[in-house]
């Protein structure tokens, strides 16, 4: 029989201290497996692949992972998606921590936290060079897919920067699609007189700031100097001493003529989208994957269309920004690397490239009779087929150049700095080591 003495301790059986010690030990023991499992990563199953993608690419990846599972491959997927900034942050941390997923989002070229060059340089990407689809990579975009002549990025196709516009607003103001810079200025004047914002600009969303520069630089730098990136890397060219200066000047001409909405630095991407969708504004320079968002914001989705930004003095001189769309890579240290590589090979089949591109309004790497390019992008196809494209910004030497460009544009819009100051700052950042 157990009795309790005056000190509170049991004189027989389990004492209070022993009881508490046992409980404490159990609590400590219970915490360890939980902690260890929280630190784990990767699927580890040979018939299951983990995939972390960008939210923008969820629709095609959901379709294609399901199709692959249904095709009798015996593979299932554990997928998760997040917006670009979160994906870049978490994936890089996972790669650094050694618990990356088997397949993950990957950005073309260099100059971002999850860009192909940066991750391949660290030896963390599996080589895709032997796969059949790689022969469709256009010669002028190879640097976006490769590092040291090996392909590491799978991207289904190309995306473009162009002018998304509201057809009803154009029709009401009697404006035709401009094909040259002077026609654009005239169209903007006419739209402004009609009480519309000619060009909506949501520069508070920082990445939006770069789009007009890129659209202009394609014509004013890369048309005459297609090897501009090589010259920059070799230290033979600068932003300040190139067509970048003229491009920035044209950008700010649009500001000075009052063609943007009031306070672009305080306007977000969502507000920009709504302005064009509702007809308050006529145009916005944007990336093609946002076409669905503009259509959603429009009274009638048929009101929304797109044309190449008329960045040059003649239609023949107009080049367009076009680059590889965000894609995926295979983790070099994945336990399921072979299975992951087979899945990428499956994605590279023409019908699957078409499926992916249809879902995100991209242009397939290689088109066949079954390819359905979004009607709004038809006007870009002649430029792409003629090689009048430039993937501006996909070969920055370090990830700081692009954000510096954002801040330079915001400061220029606020008239806080001069174009020369801004380009000098960009040149300084470009020369920093990665």
């Amino acid at each position: 029989m157990t009795a309790i003495d005056g000190s509170g301790f049991m004189t027989g059986g389990v004492s209070r201290a022993q009881f508490l010690r046992i409980l404490g030990g159990l609590a400590a023991g219970a915490a360890v497996p939980g902690l260890l499992s929280a630190c784990g990563g990767g699927s580890g199953d040979s018939d299951s692949l983990s995939l972390v993608g960008v939210a923008d690419e969820k629709a095609p990846l959901d379709l294609l992972t399901k199709a692959y599972t249904d095709s009798g491959s015996g593979i299932t997927f554990k997928t998760s998606y997040a917006p670009t900034d979160q994906v870049q942050t978490s994936l890089r941390a996972q790669l650094g921590g050694g618990n990356a997923p088997d397949i993950h989002a990957l950005y073309p070229g260099s100059g971002s936290a999850m860009s192909t060059t940066d991750i391949a340089k660290a030896g963390l990407l599996a080589d895709l060079s032997g796969q059949a689809w790689t022969s469709a990579i256009p010669a002028n975009l190879k640097s976006s897919f490769q590092y040291e002549d090996k392909v590491y990025l799978f991207s289904s196709g190309l995306t473009v920067i162009g002018t998304i516009y509201n057809k009803s607003v154009f029709a009401a103001a009697g404006v035709q699609i401009p094909k040259t810079w002077s026609e654009l200025i005239a169209a903007c004047e006419k739209l402004k007189q009609a009480g519309k914002v000619p060009l909506a600009l949501g520069a508070q969303t920082q990445w939006v700031t770069q789009l007009i520069t890129y659209a202009l630089v394609a014509s004013h730098v890369y048309r005459d100097t297609p090897d501009f990136d090589d010259q920059m890397i070799a230290g033979k060219a600068t932003f300040a001493g190139s067509g970048w200066k003229q491009s920035m000047a044209l950008y700010m001409e649009l500001r000075d003529r009052g063609f943007f909405n009031d306070n672009p630095n305080g306007t977000t991407l969502e507000q920009q989208t709504a302005m064009v969708g509702t007809g308050q504004a006529a145009m916005a320079v944007q990336v093609a994957p946002l076409l669905p968002a503009f259509r959603d914001a429009a009274t009638s989705s048929g009101d929304i269309d797109m044309f190449p930004f008329p960045s040059a003095d003649t239609a023949e001189q107009v080049y367009t920004w076009s680059g590889a769309n965000v894609g995926i890579g295979v983790h070099a240290k994945s336990k399921n690397k072979d299975a992951a590589l087979k899945f990428v090979e499956f994605l590279g089949q023409q019908e699957n490239i078409n499926t992916w591109c249809e879902a995100v309004a991209a242009i397939p790497l290689k088109r066949d009779a079954s390819s359905k390019v979004d009607p709004a992008l038809q006007s870009f196809l002649p430029l792409i087929d003629a090689g009048r494209v430039a993937p501006v910004g996909q070969r920055w030497p370090n990830p700081e150049v692009q954000p510096t460009h954002f801040t330079v544009i915001q400061d220029l819009l606020a008239k806080k700095i001069t174009i020369d100051d801004g380009l000098k700052k960009m040149d300084e950042v470009y020369r920093k080591s990665s």
């Binding site: 409980l23 915490a31 900034d85 650094g96 520069a203 400061d411 606020a414």
Partner: protein, 313 residues
């Protein structure tokens, strides 16, 4: 032969029973209960922090190998215009937040301490923003700060005949920092209010009544009775708002991302971008280390000064 017997002194304390000593080499139940939390804290806070000390002296990119670079990261920090600008912004934000948040918090506390019928409801209303996620608050205020003339705050100003005061609240580089500060004050003034309110509740009615009998009016009662006796609450509020201001990240990142340009960049946004956007983990860790030391130094100086003030009262 008799042995002398020593009698116990009547004033001597009664003999205590011998205390049972616990063996030192065994972990007692309290430690075992604390162990899971300590394990988590060690793995999530202490280990990364200690690792951070090391990485501050390396060129680690977050991927692959690294090498020691001595004090180069700290030297770069001293010559980094963006980081120095962020330090300036952080200090300005902190001063604005400490002064205004605590001023508003004190006024709110005095208001809801008064004998008014709806004081409990008002306390809940003023405290409500504190429980909302900072990111949610930032998104909410982005609507308030909509630059369109008929939207948000601008719309309200127009409606009350103050249309000339409409601003591009987050897009104007000269205004954006103060717009962020106002957003932070709106969220946290209720927190300061609660702490001041606890201080006010602790001041005895008899002290106030004695001052009233001695002829002190409301202003003198506040100046010579209430305010000195609120010294401990003031210490806590100033400390917490200073630390919060110096570490400010969520609201800035969600509302402006540090822009326009670098107008609202803070030390916390700089260290985030350096690590997760630019891939310079070594440099970012150096910024984080300097920020931590800076916060600790400012807090220590403050606490010494404010405690001295408390002792005088």
């Amino acid at each position: 032969m008799s042995t002398p017997v020593l009698e116990a002194s009547p004033t001597a304390p009664p003999e205590r029973p011998a205390r049972r000593r616990r063996p030192r080499n065994r972990l007692g139940p309290p430690w075992l209960f604390v162990a899971p939390a300590l394990l988590c804290y060690g793995a999530i806070v202490l280990y990364p922090s200690a690792s951070g000390l090391l990485y501050a002296f390396t060129d680690w990119s977050g991927l692959g190998d690294w090498s020691f670079v001595g004090l180069r990261n700290f030297d770069s920090l001293l010559h980094d215009d963006r980081a120095l600008g962020a330090l300036r912004n952080t200090l300005l934000l902190t001063v604005a937040i400490v002064v205004v948040q605590n001023g508003v918090g004190l006024l709110l506390a005095l208001g809801v301490h008064a004998r008014i019928k709806s004081r409990m409801l008002l306390r809940a209303v003023f405290f409500a923003p504190v429980v909302v996620s900072p990111v949610m608050v930032a998104f909410l205020w982005k609507y308030v700060y909509n630059p369109e003339p008929n939207a948000g705050l601008n719309g309200l100003l127009g409606a009350v005949g103050l249309g000339s005061l409409r601003q591009d609240w987050l897009g104007d580089p000269s205004l954006a920092l103060w717009s962020v500060a106002a957003m932070v004050v709106w969220q946290h003034a209720g927190y300061s209010m609660v702490i001041f309110l606890a201080g006010l509740e602790g001041i005895g009615k008899d002290v106030q009544e004695a001052a009233t009998i001695d002829g002190a009016g409301p202003v003198k009662r506040f100046r010579y009775v209430t305010w000195p006796l609120l010294a401990p609450a003031t210490t806590i509020n100033v400390m917490l708002s200073t630390i919060g201001g110096l570490k400010l990240f969520d609201q800035v990142f969600a509302a402006t991302g540090g822009g326009p340009g670098y107008a609202t960049e803070t030390l916390s946004t700089v260290l985030y971008k350096e690590a997760f956007v630019f891939g310079r983990y070594g440099y970012s860790t150096a910024v984080a280390l300097v920020l931590a030391l800076f916060v600790a130094a400012v807090s220590l100086v403050q606490i010494r000064y404010l405690r001295a003030r408390e002792d005088q009262t």
